[in-house]
Amino acid sequence: MEKEKEFYPVGALDEFLVQIGRVVEAGGRQIAVFRLSDGRVFAALNKNPHPKGGPLAEGIVSGHYLYDPLYDWKIDLTTGLVQAPDTGRAEMVPVKVEDGQVWIAAGALQPQ
């Protein structure tokens, strides 16, 4: 029960286009949500792991990989890990799909 409560609905699944990221904003934080072609949904802080920063949401999604929109780094959405030869990690956020809704961990939506 407690566990259920930790997620918060952020929008209907069809608000999210397949393979095109969308930003969810709450408490001044931006979360990039990615809906894969196989139905899975992943979410990350909308913060590029590249030292120069920038957004993530607009990258090209392929399978469970994301090619970031600014520097073309390849990021594994299941772990957040940047793929070789680059290194780093995007900060992933717990997310789930239930009842046609996308739910994000409430902790991630709160201002830090």
Binding site: V10, G11, E15, L17, I20, G59, I60, S62, Y67, P85
Partner: protein, 811 residues
């Protein structure tokens, strides 16, 4: 905490010092490491400076270890800090500023400096060496204001510098003391072939000339030679050689000859102090190339970390010139003397040359020109002092008539695991074999991504290929071919043919049917396939937004902070007061950060928020300028005959006509036009994909110009008399490029690949074909629509693209 760790101080933040540190870190964590560097940069790849000068790489591209790397490895880095000496009594390293850092071990890797000729005037402004980023920047600066440059020294560095300056548009003369270029690396034959090739590429030479004085007041204006002749030059590069930088060692009382004297374990005469790289002298030899530095670094790293190692016994050096289109290689002893047996083969038709020298039947040196595919194998054989056999001879000199089958399996098999294959990044054979066997890699690209091998100069690619071949055995052949990206082995032409033949209609279908290794492709192939599909089926292909790069998906250019720029069309660079008013109003209302006049004669609204984009477009009420797209960008025009007293043709009118006619169509890459009213060429036709120059009786059309990374002057395609002919030729060239260009290939590369003659044959000489091309482009043009209007029309769908979801704050 750190106090119980041994303190290692590295003097010199260059390739030698840092690659040694990298080797040490692989072996042990026992050191607390501090690095001092005189330059203000982190460690960068000095060998790649030629590419920065040439324009094919930026300084960021050549950084080997960024500041994060130092942080992550707990290394204290002092850039812009020069060390004065080592205080052996106090066991401290002392900087010029008086900072003192205690040490247990010191590594001196101070490299070398340009040798500046001690002649009058060598201290004038405009005289530089070619060693570091600062020199490189000075050369880039000089190219903006100066025309004539002289490079003193016809060695490796001098020639690379000269080629870079020519590439930057300067008139360059190389002055060389000897009669042969690169006489320390090449024999007379190869040197004269090299000179002929470089002359073809636009470099001038003055051979056998000794510079005695640099002329000018504060700034250099010319050179005087020993024979009394003079040469004008506003900029002089000294590339006569390097001298080991031994200042710290000398000041500290360490034994110094030409370089810092080291033994076979790279130890100097001072206890606990080591030295590697160009500043050292080992068994009487100072090396000025990269490979020995890695070999030394490896021995030292093992020794200092307490791992058993064979001593360093010197290196056989080899040379490769990094000038595109000029392949030269030499290794070992290459000047033939009476003691040598010479095997040579010179081919004036293919302009290649190969020479191998034997001493008592043993291979001791080689020179290659033009075709250097055997370089890796030769280097190997010579290093191992292999005895020449009939079999080897056949394999190397290619006497077999049908290109003999199973050759080239020899050398990598016997190569020891710790031997360095990639000199730029210090990658050993063992590392490469490991990633092939343990991670299942099957292509050179994957090996590059994983280990960094071949990433820099690419000279080791043949060896990496051979190792791959050796490890994979029969599995190699099927995977060896390089496709358009790492997802496929198919080339562009094969993919396009398959799409047509099998009637494939979506990127997903293409990737499925053609066996992509990553089922949904990558950021390279997805946009490419989407383009090819659109080009082949202009009326039925449904553009895949998710396969477009962000800028094309959003119809705006993303900036590093995630905001966008908006560039509306101004046909032919002409606008109206009403449009300007709207632009001003919108810019104020949406808090645009900067309004910039672009190089393409239009206005760029920079810093628009993503969610504001649709509103900005709506209120501007102007067509999209496609500044974000691989499509027709700008048509630059001069004033022309409407107003200009020199104008012979209506360039503004023609520019706007062409822009209206051909806008919105997808191309393999961005596409720029210019239209000029007279040969004064004020709108700079020579650097556009298609440049048009009006004259009294018609127009002249130029193709393949580029002012970007690789500048290229456009080639004259043809002259036409009427406006209709002009439009038809322009349309036919565009369509021919759309149908044959590789995705992301600009016309400057396309013209060189396809050949100007082939383009002439297709669009100028063959009226039937021209008409057919024109019909196809007209058909494609019927399908396009302004993307901003389209997105506004599709309101809801676009909302999902542009608007973020706000979650109320009552969590």
């Amino acid at each position: 905490m750190g106090t119980d760790r041994e303190k290692l101080v590295v003097i010199g933040n260059g390739m030698a010092g840092i690659s040694t540190v990298e080797q040490i870190l692989k072996l042990t964590k026992k050191f607390d490491i501090t690095v001092f560097g005189s330059e203000p940069h982190p460690n960068y790849n000095r060998i790649m400076l030629s590419y920065v000068l040439e324009g094919s790489k930026t300084i960021d591209d050549i950084v080997l270890n960024d500041l994060n790397w130092y942080r992550e490895n707990g290394i204290t880095l002092h850039t812009g800090t020069t060390v004065a000496k080592i205080d052996e009594q106090a066991k401290e390293v002392v900087t010029v500023d008086g900072m003192r850092v205690p040490y247990d071990k010191v590594l001196i890797a101070t490299g070398s400096n340009s040798f500046i000729l001690p002649i009058p005037g060598s201290d004038k402004e405009g005289v530089v060496g070619f060693r570091d980023i600062a020199d490189c920047n000075q050369m880039l600066e000089a190219a903006k204001t100066c025309r004539k440059a002289a490079v003193i020294g016809g060695g490796l560095l001098g020639l690379e510098a000269a080629k870079g300056l020519v590439q930057l548009g300067m008139d360059v003369t190389v002055i060389h003391l000897m009669e042969d270029l690169m006489e320390r690396q090449l024999d007379h034959q190869a040197a004269s072939m090299l000179k002929a090739e470089l002359e073809r590429q636009g470099i001038k030479f003055k051979m056998g000339a000794q510079t005695t004085e640099l002329l000018g007041d504060t700034r250099v204006s010319g050179l005087r030679f020993a024979d009394g002749t003079e040469l004008a030059a506003e900029f002089v590069v000294m590339a006569v050689g390097i001298k080991p930088n031994v200042a710290v060692a000398k000041e500290s009382g360490i034994e110094v000859n030409r370089g810092i004297v080291v033994n076979d374990y790279l130890q100097t005469s001072m206890d606990g102090v080591y030295s590697v790289g160009e500043c050292t002298e080992h068994r009487g030899v100072c090396y000025g190339l990269v490979a020995p530095l890695f070999e030394q670094g490896m021995v030292l790293a093992k020794h200092i970390s307490g791992v058993e190692t064979a001593p360093y016994e010197g290196s056989v050096v080899s040379t490769k010139l990094k000038i595109s289109g000029v392949d030269v290689f030499s290794t070992g002893e290459f000047i033939d003397g009476p003691e040598h047996t010479v095997i040579a083969n010179k081919d004036d038709w293919k302009r290649t040359y190969k020479k191998i020298l034997l001493k008592d039947g043993v291979m001791v040196g080689a020179v290659l020109f033009g075709d250097i595919t055997d370089s890796a194998e030769l280097q190997k054989l010579i290093k191992q002092r292999t005895v020449m056999t009939d079999e080897l001879y056949d394999s190397l000199m290619g006497t077999g008539c049908c290109g003999g089958g199973g050759k080239k399996t020899t050398s990598v098999e016997t190569m020891p695991d710790e031997e360095i294959v990639c000199g730029c990044n210090g990658v050993t054979k063992g590392t490469i074999v490991d990633v092939i066997t343990n991670q299942g890699l099957t292509t050179v690209d994957e090996i590059k991504a994983c280990t960094g091998a071949t990433r820099s100069c690419g000279g080791c690619k043949p060896v990496v290929e051979q190792i791959l071949q050796y490890v994979l055995g029969d599995g190699f052949k099927e995977t060896a071919k390089q496709g358009i990206c790492s997802c496929t082995t198919l080339s562009r032409d094969e993919i396009v043919a398959e799409i047509k033949e099998k009637g494939l209609h979506t990127t997903k279908e293409v990737m499925n049917v053609l066996g992509w290794s990553q089922p949904e492709g990558c950021s390279k192939c997805r946009p490419a396939i989407n383009y090819y599909l659109g080009m082949l089926y202009p009326d039925t292909h449904e553009d895949e937004k998710e396969s477009r790069f962000v800028n094309e998906r959003m119809s705006a250019n993303i900036q590093k902070d995630g905001t966008y720029t908006v560039v509306p069309r101004m046909y032919g660079g002409v606008t109206t007061p009403e449009e300007l008013k709207r632009i001003a109003d919108v810019s104020v209302k949406y808090d645009v950060k900067v309004v910039k006049v672009t190089g393409g004669q239009r206005l760029d609204l920079i810093g628009v928020k993503k969610e504001d984009l649709p509103k900005v477009w709506e209120e501007l009420d102007m067509p999209s300028g496609y500044a974000y797209a691989k499509s027709l960008r700008t048509v630059k025009t001069c004033v022309g005959s409407q107003f200009c007293r020199f104008g012979t043709q209506d360039s503004m009118g023609m520019g706007a006509t062409l822009e209206r006619k051909f806008e919105r169509l997808d191309f393999p890459a961005k596409f720029k036009l210019a239209v000029n009213g007279c040969p004064r060429n004020c709108a700079e036709s020579c650097t556009k994909d298609i440049g048009i120059v009006g004259n009294d009786g018609g127009w002249e059309i130029f193709v393949g110009g580029n002012g970007g990374i690789k500048a290229r002057l456009a080639d004259s395609l043809c002259k036409v008399k009427t406006d209709d002919e002009l439009i038809e030729i322009v349309g036919a060239v565009m369509q021919y490029y759309r149908e044959t260009g590789n995705y992301l290939e600009r016309t400057s590369e396309w013209v060189e690949r396809i050949g100007l003659d082939a383009i002439k044959a297709a669009v100028v000489d063959d009226p039937e074909n021209r008409k057919a091309l024109m019909e196809r482009i007209e058909f494609a043009l019927k399908q396009v629509e302004d993307p901003w209007k389209k997105m506004l029309r599709e309101g809801e769908q676009s909302g999902k693209l542009f608007n973020r979801l706000e979650v109320s704050n009552q969590l």
